[in-house]
């Protein structure tokens, strides 16, 4: 027999608040922060052996945590104090991390401002500019061109190969596919410098005997391929199974299913995968360091002579002690970051939604198409179509069209 304890005698504690904040919570936070800052300013330098801004901030933070725990403990029990303090700690971990990361990017952009306003920075190469020349001489046109050509060649190989391999993993399957997946996972562990060393000793030393843009693009390909395969693999796995089954049930072959159902559904995701791979590939420095060679002139022949790219140009500029060269290095790094940010923004724009998740305009187009089909197929539908279009002319609100199409 089940014994149900009687709830009569048991005390019912106050309800825990899991989310949200009362006014006094906010005051607790503000008060503790003010007290922490004040205490730190007061005792800093006498009691603590630390010096500099960092020490002050550290003491202020510790004092803030202490005061906050004290303030919360006035009104709450120990569990609540722990909860509040941990929430503050988690938030500060986030603030520190995002602060540091944003600072890294912002630091480069701000230091790059010295070189960026000069238009010649984008149109000239460093051919005629010496290390002592001012910023109104010379630029990084050769590096921009080199990056575009190298990444272009790498994309020509990685995009078809990567997506086909991902299709193989998902649509064909079998024992060999599992082996391919294992190998490509292993490949993500390949350190970039080792990829560069491989291309250097396999292609440059053995075959071409000179550094070239082609060798660099091969090194980038080796690095990008596993990224593209893995990202497209995930996207293809997300394509809903019932879409595929519907296609098979309609009698389509495997290839037609892939071409007309799987790939169109996964298109935004695949584009995102490729763009993210590109963003990674553009930033690769160490494989390019070994394979492309350093040059100051524009080189449009990928098979002949050194061809520098943006990250390597950054690396090369900042090796120089001249302030102008360092300014150019930061300018180049800023261009590189902006390029990566742009690629990333494009990827977000087209890849922000799940496969099959349509935009409003796409939805309207689908509704219109199925309405046309209905109109074409049935007399009944014909009548409804007329009815609806008559309704549509009277009321611009189009809620009915959606209902009729479903």
């Amino acid at each position: 027999m089940t014994f149900i304890p009687s709830p009569d005698g048991a005390p019912i504690g106050p309800r825990r608040r899991v989310r949200g904040a009362r006014v006094d919570d906010r005051f607790n936070l503000l008060g503790a922060a003010a007290a922490g800052l004040a205490l730190s300013t007061l005792i800093f330098g006498w009691v603590t052996p630390l010096s500099g801004g960092l020490g002050w901030a550290l003491v202020a933070f510790l004092a803030f945590i202490g005061f906050y725990a004290l303030l919360v403990s006035i009104t709450s029990d120990f569990q609540d104090v722990k909860d509040r303090v941990m929430a503050v700690l988690l938030t500060s971990a986030g603030v520190v991390l995002f602060g540091a990361l944003v600072f890294v990017v912002a630091f480069t952009l701000v230091r790059g401002q010295e070189a960026l306003p000069h238009l010649n920075f984008f149109t000239q190469s460093m051919e005629k500019a010496g290390p002592l020349d001012g910023l109104e001489m010379g630029g990084i046109a050769h590096a921009i061109l080199g990056t575009l050509m190298q990444i272009g060649m790498a994309l020509v190989i990685t995009v078809p190969l990567g997506i086909l391999t991902a299709l193989f993993l998902n649509e064909v399957g079998g024992r060999f596919a599992r082996f391919v997946r294992t190998i490509s996972d292993a490949m993500t562990a390949l350190p970039s410098i080792v990829a560069g060393l491989f291309v250097y000793s396999a292609i440059i030393v053995l075959i071409t005997h000179q550094r070239s843009g082609f060798a660099a693009s091969m090194a980038i390909t080796v690095m990008m391929l596993p990224i593209v395969i893995r990202a497209s693999d995930i996207v293809l796995r997300l394509v809903a199974g019932n879409l595929r089954e519907a296609a098979y049930a309609l009698g389509s072959t495997r290839w037609r299913t892939i071409w007309h159902v799987v790939l169109p559904t996964a298109r935004p995701g695949l584009a995102t995968a490729v763009i993210l791979g590109t963003a990674r590939g553009i930033g690769e420095t160490s494989p390019v360091l070994l394979t492309s060679g350093v040059t100051a002139v524009v080189n449009t022949n990928p098979f002949e002579g050194p061809m520098i790219s943006l990250p390597l140009q950054v690396f090369d500029f900042v090796k120089s002690p001249e302030p102008n060269m360092i300014a150019r290095g930061f300018g180049t790094a800023a261009v590189l970051i902006l390029l990566v940010l742009t690629l990333f923004a494009i990827a977000r724009l087209i890849g922000g939604r799940a496969p099959g998740d349509l935009t409003v305009r796409q939805q309207q187009r689908v509704v219109a198409a199925s309405l046309r089909d209905l109109h074409r197929i049935t007399i009944q539908g014909d009548r409804r179509f007329e009815l609806i279009s008559a309704e549509k002319t009277t009321t611009p609100d189009t809620n009915d069209t959606k209902e009729s199409s479903s």
Binding site: S51, V104, A186, F344
Partner: protein, 346 residues
Amino acid sequence: MSRTINAPSPARTAPHTEAFPLEKERRRALVSKPSVSDSVFRSVAFTAGGITVAIMLAVGVFLSIRASNALGVAGFSFLTEQDWSPESRVFGIASVLFGTVTIALIALVVAVPLALGTALLISEVAQGRLRSTLVTLVDLMAAVPSVVFGLWGVFFLQANVVPVASWISTYFGWIPFFRVSNATGGALTESSAFTSSAFIAGLVVGLMVVPTTTSVMREAFSQAPIGEREAAFALGSTRWGMIRSVVLPFGRGGIIGGTMLGLGRALGETIAVYMIISPIFTINWQVLKTGSNSVSALIALRYGESSEFGLSALMAAGLVLFLVTLVINFTASSIVARSRSGAESS
């Protein structure tokens, strides 16, 4: 095709189908013959998979073959010798491997608490738009080129972190790691003794691996079952209590796996380390002191001047690095896959 269903032979199961005399002789095959386009697609996809494997295997096999020359000469001393001069046949990766591991461990000390805190912040505390913004920001930061981190490390962090390093060595110098001393054992205090150290390189690399680690951990945490979360709340738990009793145990595989993936990336990082450290070829236990090295920095430093044999020695170093990261990555992914949080995702 793997889905072939063996249709029972018509003779054995000939049904009593007087009403359908036409089907008596021949049963319909359950599996149709693949069309031409299908078989073309299958062979093309198979070839693509084959090419991918061929590229990957070519890297591994080529590295091993070229490295075997140097490994044969050096033998076991390759792992114990600190110096690197292949020309005089005295070379080994003891010092560079030590430096690599030191830098990676410092990076993890920085990265893991930050990543854990941020992952919990994103999955448990932040809500709505803020959450998706933070997720995007983490993904974006994973794509920032390493040369940018290197620039920041050299031109900003280097100058600003020296007082901190000096302070640590002054007050925690009794811990052997944090001691900064010269050859005779006297403590050094001038700031030039603290630049270009493994500590600074570790800080920068740590910042670089945080995004990777964070996104793996966040993925695991966000899969913690809602029912168990609500059960914890129903038993009167606070949010932190719920995190400790539900989210953290559930995401343990993600925490370990994310940490190890971060470790793998930290071991292979080249440019940022190369820009910051001043290379030495002795084991330096004092992480705050100038001078360290890593396998990838060694390759970047020496590949140009190397002879045929020197290149082979560098290949051997690269092979060791590759094997180490490979083992770490596979361990990480099997831990993630075996944990509760990973079982449902893959």
